[in-house]
Amino acid sequence: MTKSLSLAKLLETTALLLIIFFIVLPIVWLALTSIKPQEKAYTTDVVFMPTADNFRIIFSDTSVIINAGTERERGEVGRNMLPSVLNSVVVSGATILIAIPLATIAAYAFSRYLFLGNRALLIWILTTQFIPAIVVAIPFFTLFRSIEVFERPLLGTQLGLIIVNMSIVLPYAIWMIKGFVDALPGEIEEAAYVDGCNDFQVLFFISLPLIRPGILVASVFAFIMSWNEFLFALIIGREMRTMQVALMTTSGARGIMWEQMAAAGLVVMLPIFFLAMFIRKNVVYGLTMGAVK
């Protein structure tokens, strides 16, 4: 009995270690490659002198960098990735600044008011999540080509991408925040009504402060969503490259410069990594919109 038990234990531990290895390897390998000197990047060596050169290269303007006497080529025409980082920050930031307030008041109304079509509307909003992004991108591509803002076509601007991002972020945020409002007991609001508050006073002074943690979690999810968004960024964002699209500029005449891709990848990944840790407890809820509890 004890013998078979310890064998089971051994199998279980092995499985756990394999799972950990399977999960962590791509991330660790990316991080390792990003600090590898170029001559080691194209090997599977794990012993090397760490360097910050790759990060220096992706954030520099020149196409060739001289480091310790060796010339190192940049991808494509030596694009500095700093503007792309800013584009991603501006687009994702503005997307949540617009979407979250709109979603919050809508989610509150869906949760607290019974009105005609409440449930049907809510389910319809859920199904908009399943519309393939490409079908949204096509008409906005043709539309934004013909709309000019300050004499520049809307296509390829941050504003254009922010507008299109609404199609995925807003419905998502409504569902998510509605869940947090639902979880809040209504008695406090009832008491406030009895004390003579009107609907808006209850919403802004009683309920909103109480669901603030939920709103924060939804904001983080919405930020991650637009930060990682690729299809819209490619079709609508175009030359205004977000970081996801800027990853592609690490490919040059001699193929992809993997050490630069890894460095850029780490810049893309790290902020989301910390945000993901912050919303760890809500990930399942966020991914399934409460369908799996």
Binding site: P26, F110, P132, M166, I256, L287
Partner: protein
């Protein structure tokens, strides 16, 4: 209660307006485009013309040509097949491996807890980056996956084969150590699905861990007292109890897989020879890269919309049934 009836509409109004403009407008516009011969290289001619003499509809400009073209376009059919197989492999592996991980990590010591914490890691990696990192690691010359597969799988299997082949029986061919993973039609699609599985199996495991935690411990206890072993408990108790959650998760993952695009661009570029061109990728190629055929791209994306609508309806039915 003194709640006013117009208040909810004021609160929902702005959000509803934005959702309608960013989802209903493109859905209608794409449907309209899909009936036209609309290529950005030529000046478009639209059926609805609004002028001084009022609204005029030129029916002759509308046709189903883009739809009939899609079903006789071997590349579109190919993209349907690729998407189908990608979905089957990635959903199947993600759900099965996710379930496996969940059952293992659910209860236990610190190693279990550590694994549970690590499960969220792939969530931080964007799909585009996932594609690039897998492409890098699968490289036949310096990829770490290539190295691992060769040294941990191929070499031991070949060593066993050489023992077997030493016997005067049938000769079994050795496995090649120089497979170019993304250069082979089967392996490219399989590895694309594997990269998706890497991202999703841990997250699905998290979903199952939550669901497993809500099952009453006494049920397992009773099964154990009745003499059931772990395997029996898994198949006779855990699996039936998880069935509703498994169905929902499978449906949700199917929808995500059908929409797959990012990694195709960054990992395989649709190749080799169209072996990994998913529907979304082919639509993007026809609408924005190889040709600027907006009408055709719209028609194909509408076919995808129809497929996804069916899946979404199934998903909503599953979720509502459960409540």
């Amino acid at each position: 209660m003194r709640k006013k009836r117009w208040v909810p509409w004021v609160l929902i109004g702005p959000a509803l307006l934005v959702i309608v403009l960013t989802t209903i407008y493109p859905l209608l516009a794409a449907l309209y485009y899909s009936f036209h011969n609309y290529n950005l290289r030529r000046a478009p001619q639209f059926a609805i013309q609004i002028g001084e003499s009022g609204i005029h509809i030129d029916w002759s400009l509308l046709s189903l040509e883009n739809y009939t073209r899609a079903f006789s376009d071997s590349r579109f059919i190919n993209s349907l097949e690729v998407t189908f197989w990608f979905t089957v492999i990635s959903v199947g592996l993600s759900v099965v491996i996710g379930l496996f991980i969940a059952v293992i990590v659910q209860k236990g010591g610190w190693l279990h807890t550590l694994t549970k914490v690590l499960l969220i890691f792939p969530f931080a990696v964007s799909p585009a980056l996932k594609g690039y990192s897998w492409r890098f690691m699968l490289n036949e010359n310096y990829g770490v996956y290539d190295l691992l597969i060769d040294s941990l799988l191929v070499k031991p299997v070949n060593a066993l084969l050489s023992l077997f082949n030493a016997l005067p029986l049938v000769e079994i061919p050795y496995i090649s150590e120089s497979i170019v993973w993304l250069g082979d039609k089967f392996w490219a699609l399989f590895m694309l699905a594997m990269s998706e599985t890497w991202g999703w199996a841990p997250l699905i495991a998290l979903m199952f861990v939550g669901a497993l935690g809500s099952i009453d411990e006494q049920i397992f206890e009773a099964a154990r007292i009745d003499g059931a072993n772990r395997v029996q408990i898994f198949f006779r108790v855990t699996l039936p109890l998880l069935r509703p959650v498994i169905l929902i998760v499978t449906m949700l993952k199917t929808i995500f897989s059908l929409k797959m695009f990012d990694q195709v661009v960054t990992m395989t570029g649709g190749g080799p020879v169209r072996a990994t061109q998913t529907i979304n990728y082919y639509i993007h190629q026809m609408g924005f890269v190889r040709s600027l055929d907006i009408g055709y791209a719209s028609a194909m994306s509408y076919i995808l919309v129809i497929v996804l609508t069916i899946c979404a309806a199934l998903y909503v039915a599953l979720v509502l049934n459960r409540d």
